[in-house]
Each structure stands twice: as structure tokens, then as C-alpha cells.
């Protein structure tokens, strides 16, 4: 992959034939048909499903091959982990290969993904003499976007049919004294490049997609002090890693989902740099544990979702979302993202209670807070 300095002076015309990456506008004649992918209607980019159909819609039809989706974790890492599992489950069903890297839990725990179900609207009507399981398996791998039942786990045979590469940080390096660079990220980058090269995802032999799931990057367990200090010592380790990740993905048939505990990072400008080095970025804020959980305004939803960035790939315009006030809810069979609908104010008492958070007001006569609210003269 390296090129000495004088060779970069070659003209671009030579490069265009050599440099056939996936990140190229597809002409109609040479459409790569890989199961589980489809071309985008806007710019012809090859898309894969994230496993959550409403998230696919937000991202403009799906996740483009060769890009990174950054998920800023919610406080307890429940829903971001769920989206990562959806992403990997989609890879299993579409027969893509997986690469999972974690520092905290064993990768096998993340691979306990939900079971794929056929939603009622997608039931295949015509069965012929093929056995039903094979028919549905064939049909599901050619579909784009599936539904998963998160209360069950996928059968072990189906999961083991998918090839999965694991990177569990404690197996790879031993904690050493601080070098000037964080070693875990370089080890991860090397391992990922090895897998891509060995399995041929850099367009040398394979015609399949590699789905990369990186869990909780930037947390202290990766050896990084971004989340611990105001002025981290290796503040550029993660951004350098993301740059290298972008370089790897742009030159191979892979797609990555990275989760990051952004609520631990104090430096907002650093989050801006990290977001810019990823292509898509969303942030999750769950209501669990906050006072919003019991707020009647939000009773239908589990949290809010913010779209921080959408990319413009091979064209100038971005697919901006229509609305910025989005909320998500997780039901047994579906993770839905929709526009936040506030219930209408129907009675007088409702409007009084729901205006702002309840605050403790110490009144002169010592009555309780709710009492003072009704004193209006």
C-alpha cells in the first residue's frame, strides 16, 4: 500500500485504472452485486443496511460501503450496544463477514445478537418444493433490512455460519509503560489491515462486505486518557486511528460502526474533530435514570437521537434530515426512530405541571413547591 514520494507525482490518469476502490461511482455496466447491498438512488453509492430500518432512512437509505458510522453512546451504553448488535446481526443474516473489537467485554458477548424474524409485511407468499428454511434464508439474504426479535438470541448454527474475526484487547497487548503513542490503537489498526488483506476485501479476491464493529473506543480501557483528563496526554491517538481507519475503509469493501462514550469527554472541540473524521455521526441520549423517564411528555419514547453529521460522498450535496428533533423507542421487535411528537395540552392542570422540570421553591410561608404553584393572584 505504500508508495515512495516520487511515484505520487504520477498523473491521475494512470491512477484511475489502478486505483479501483469500492468508493467509486458505479456505472450501470459494472454493478457489483453482493447480497445485502443495494445502490443508492441519490448518487449510485453502494449501501448496506445498519439493521435498523429507520436509521437506514435517516442516513439516506443505508450506510455507504467504505464509510464509518460514529455512535455517541448513551450514559449506560444500552442502546448504542443494541444498535451495534443490530449491525452485526444484519451482517450474519446477509452472510457478510464480521470483525468485532472490544476492550471491555469479550467479543462473543456482543455477538449474542437478536433473532431474525420475518415481519408480517415481508412474508414470502410463493413457496415451491424447496424446504422452507432454505427458501426463507435465501430470501432474507437478498433482502435489504430485516427485523430482529431482541428477546431471543440467534441460533448458534446461524451465527457460526458467519465468519467472525475477533479482537479482544487484553489478549493482544499487556499494559506497558506509557509510550508516546497509545499502543492499542496501532495494534487494532494492524489487525484490521491484516484481516482485510488476508481475506481479500481490498478487492483482490473477495466479493463480500466486511462489517467492522468497534465498541467503546476512547474509553480508558483502550489505554486512552481522553475520558479521564481535561488535557489528555495523547489527545491525537484516537484521531490518528480514525484517520487510518478511514484510509483502510476507503480502499476496501468494508463498513464500520464505532461507539464512543462521548459523555465522558470534556473537550467539545475534540469531539468535533472526532466527528469530522467519521462520515456519519449520531448521538443517543436515553431517558433512563434521568427525570425525563417519568415525564409524561416522553412516555412513549426511550430516548432522544441527534444526527450530528451526514456525509457528502462523491457529490456536493448532503442528505440532510428533515427534522432535528428525533426520538427513539425500542420495542421487542423493532427499534424505531421518529420525530418527537409532544402530546397535546388538553386540560389546564396538565399545562401547569408539564411546564419545565419541577423545581424546589422555598417559599416564605414554608409550604411545599406544588402549593406555591397554585398561588396565582
Amino acid at each position: 500500500m505504500a508508495a515512495p514520494v516520487n511515484s505520487v507525482c504520477k498523473t491521475s490518469a494512470d491512477r484511475l485504472q489502478v486505483n479501483c476502490t469500492s468508493f467509486q461511482k458505479k456505472t450501470r455496466s459494472k454493478l457489483i452485486s453482493i447480497p445485502g447491498t443495494r445502490p443508492s438512488v441519490q448518487n449510485g453509492q453502494l449501501l448496506v443496511s445498519t439493521g435498523v430500518t429507520s436509521l437506514d432512512y435517516l442516513l439516506g437509505g443505508g450506510l455507504a460501503v467504505g464509510t464509518v458510522l460514529l455512535i455517541e453512546e448513551d450514559r449506560f451504553d444500552s442502546y448504542s450496544r443494541m444498535i451495534l448488535k443490530y449491525f452485526l446481526a444484519e451482517g450474519v443474516v446477509c452472510r457478510h463477514e464480521l470483525f468485532v473489537a472490544t476492550a471491555q467485554d469479550n467479543p462473543d458477548e456482543i455477538l449474542q445478537v437478536g433473532d431474525e424474524t420475518l415481519s408480517s409485511s415481508n412474508v414470502i407468499k410463493n413457496y415451491n418444493s424447496y424446504p422452507c428454511a432454505l427458501q426463507s434464508a435465501l430470501a432474507s439474504s437478498s433482502r435489504f433490512g430485516h427485523y430482529y426479535d431482541v428477546s431471543k438470541t440467534m441460533e448458534v448454527e446461524i451465527r457460526q455460519a458467519a465468519k467472525c474475526h475477533r479482537f479482544y484487547l487484553p489478549d493482544h497487548i499487556t499494559p506497558s509503560s506509557a509510550a508516546h503513542r497509545v499502543e492499542s490503537y496501532s495494534a487494532l489498526l494492524k489487525s484490521l489491515q491484516e484481516v482485510i488483506h488476508r481475506e481479500g476485501f481490498d478487492l483482490s479476491k473477495s466479493r463480500n462486505i466486511l462489517r467492522v464493529g468497534l465498541h467503546s473506543l476512547g474509553s480508558a480501557l483502550w489505554g486512552d486518557d481522553l475520558c479521564c483528563h481535561d488535557k489528555p496526554r495523547h489527545s491525537h491517538a484516537l484521531t490518528t486511528f480514525l484517520y487510518g481507519l478511514r484510509a483502510l475503509l476507503r480502499s476496501s469493501l468494508s463498513v464500520a460502526v464505532v461507539t464512543l462514550p462521548s459523555h465522558l469527554i470534556q473537550d467539545r472541540a475534540l469531539m468535533g474533530n472526532i466527528t469530522r473524521l467519521c462520515d456519519n455521526a449520531i448521538a443517543l441520549e436515553s431517558f433512563k435514570g434521568s427525570e425525563r423517564e417519568t415525564n409524561p411528555l416522553y412516555k412513549d419514547y426511550h430516548g432522544l437521537l441527534y444526527v450530528r453529521q451526514v456525509p457528502h460522498l462523491n457529490c456536493l450535496a448532503r442528505q440532510l434530515p428533515d427534522h432535528k428533533d428525533l426520538a427513539f423507542k425500542l420495542k421487542r421487535k423493532q427499534f424505531t426512530i421518529e420525530r418527537l411528537h409532544l402530546p397535546p395540552d388538553l386540560s389546564e392542570t396538565v399545562s401547569r405541571v408539564s411546564r419545565g422540570e419541577p423545581v424546589g421553591v422555598a417559599s416564605a410561608c414554608g409550604s411545599s413547591a406544588s402549593g406555591t404553584k397554585n398561588l396565582d393572584f
Binding site: S12, A13, L248, R268, R276, R318
Partner: protein, 268 residues
């Protein structure tokens, strides 16, 4: 190439000022569409272009402007993404790319990158017989803030831009266009983003023309993507003369339209 922007800046591929340093900057927005404009502008003006594409891959730029470098030798493209892998994941039998060796050791600075720029700008003068004669050299950088993210010191980036300006604008009388991106609010008290603010201020001081892109002050709008401030610095006589204009813009699939404030097609 955006025709409306050409009329705003009073330039065309046939007549443009030489020896200019154009700074494209943005704050919490994305001004990279302007880089595509300048790339196709200078290619159409038959200049010899040296493009440091640090942020995106080559396929992205070539897909946007389909007429990219159809002539041989007009464009020298440095793909930062590709070269960085040789430094970040070194293999035994592969030669490292020297221009990106600041990745291995950030305090080294950007000297090697400057040497690459120098060799492509100056070295092109000693061309073989029969090659076409191109116009003045132009350096395009997309974008400088990526260098800050990769650990390079602000002072080193300012030095690099100064050396490039001395080489391209003064020595060979070409043009230079650089993109800088900022994050935080302008009057943020906490020292969150000192690096890119210092870089932006330093480069604004050096440049001849500044195109500053921001979001709308009134919030998010689907029809108007933001506002662009055009700031010329000219010297008339002894006194420096500064002229500012404000436009709003909307980016389409293959172009962008610019209009005065309040005259968007969504409003009128």
C-alpha cells in the same frame, strides 16, 4: 465551477489575479464544496495544480468534478489517506512515504510535506521535450485542520503555510487555496479549541481573500445551507483596504448557488 461565485469574486478562468493566497474557512459548517470549485476553476484555467487531498480519497474528488485532469501532467494529486497507511502500519518490505512521516513523530513537523510540494511546483519546470506548457502553479490544500487532528503543532502548520506561500505566491507567482475548519463558538471562554482558532487567525492575517462559511445565525434551514462571508484585503496606496460582503448559499448535487441575504428562492 460555480458561475455565481465567479461573478461574486470578479474572476474567470481567463482572467484572475496571480500571486494570491485564498483562505477558505468554516466554523461548525462544511466549506469543502468551495475547494471543488477552485479545483475545477484552476484546471479550466490551464494551470498546473498541486492538490494535497488529505481529507478524502481521490475517487471522491474525481467523482464530483468529472473533468478532473483529462490532460496529462496537469494535476499532481497527493492522497493523504493512501500514504498514511504506510506510516501507521509499517511493513518490513515496504518503503515508507516520506511526506507523511510526521505521523510517526509529530514534533518533526511538516518539512517533508513541504519538500514534496516544492518538488512538484518547481520540479515541473524541467520538463521533457514536447510536453505541454501549463500556466502558473497552483497549490490547493484540503484541509489543514486534519494536520492538527493528527498531532502536528499549530506553529508547524503556520510555518508550513508560510513556506508554501513564499514558494507559490511570491517565487513562482502562482495561487494558493487552503481550507481550515474550526469547531467552537467564536467567543468561547474556555480553551477548548485554541489550536484551530489560532491557526485561523494566523492564516486570515496572511491571506488576500478569505471566504468564511458559517451556519445561519437563526438556526437550521433545509433550503439555505448557510452563509458565506467574502473578505478582500487589498492595498491601495499606503492604506490596506478591506471589503466584506455577505451571501447565503445552497449546495446542490453538482453545484451551488449564491444569493444575497433574504433573496433565496424558498423565500421569494
Amino acid at each position: 465551477m460555480f458561475t455565481e461565485l465567479n461573478s461574486i469574486l470578479n474572476t474567470s478562468p481567463d482572467s484572475y489575479t496571480r500571486g494570491e493566497f485564498i483562505l477558505v474557512s468554516d466554523r461548525q459548517s462544511d466549506a469543502s464544496f468551495l475547494i471543488h470549485h477552485f479545483l475545477s476553476f484552476y484546471l479550466r484555467a490551464r494551470c498546473k495544480v498541486c492538490f494535497l487531498g488529505l481529507a478524502q480519497s481521490f475517487c471522491h474528488y474525481s467523482a464530483v468534478s468529472q473533468r478532473l485532469a483529462k490532460e496529462k501532467g496537469q494535476l499532481v494529486f497527493f492522497e493523504g489517506l493512501k500514504e498514511c497507511l504506510s506510516v501507521l502500519t509499517p511493513k518490513e518490505n515496504n518503503v515508507e512515504s516520506e511526506a507523511m512521516n510526521f505521523l510517526r513523530d509529530p514534533p518533526v513537523g511538516l518539512r517533508s510535506l513541504y519538500e514534496f510540494v516544492r518538488s512538484s511546483v518547481i520540479g515541473s519546470d524541467n520538463m521533457e521535450e514536447g510536453a505541454e506548457q501549463w500556466g502558473p502553479s497552483v497549490l490547493l490544500v484540503d484541509d489543514l485542520s486534519v494536520l492538527l487532528s493528527l498531532g502536528v503543532d499549530v506553529g508547524a502548520v503556520l510555518d508550513f503555510s508560510h513556506y508554501c506561500r513564499a514558494l507559490v505566491c511570491s517565487q513562482v507567482q502562482g495561487n494558493m487555496v487552503m481550507l481550515v475548519r474550526c469547531n467552537g463558538e467564536e467567543d468561547d471562554d474556555d480553551d477548548g479549541d485554541i489550536g484551530s482558532d489560532v491557526l485561523l487567525k494566523g492564516l486570515t492575517h496572511q491571506c488576500n481573500l478569505n471566504l468564511h462559511v458559517q451556519g445561519l445565525p437563526t438556526g437550521y434551514c433545509k433550503d439555505i445551507h448557510g452563509q458565506m462571508e467574502v473578505c478582500w484585503k487589498r492595498r491601495q496606496g499606503d492604506a490596506p483596504h478591506m471589503q466584506k460582503n455577505l451571501f447565503q448559499y445552497k449546495v446542490y448535487d453538482k453545484g451551488a448557488s449564491f444569493f444575497a441575504r433574504g433573496t433565496s428562492s424558498a423565500v421569494l
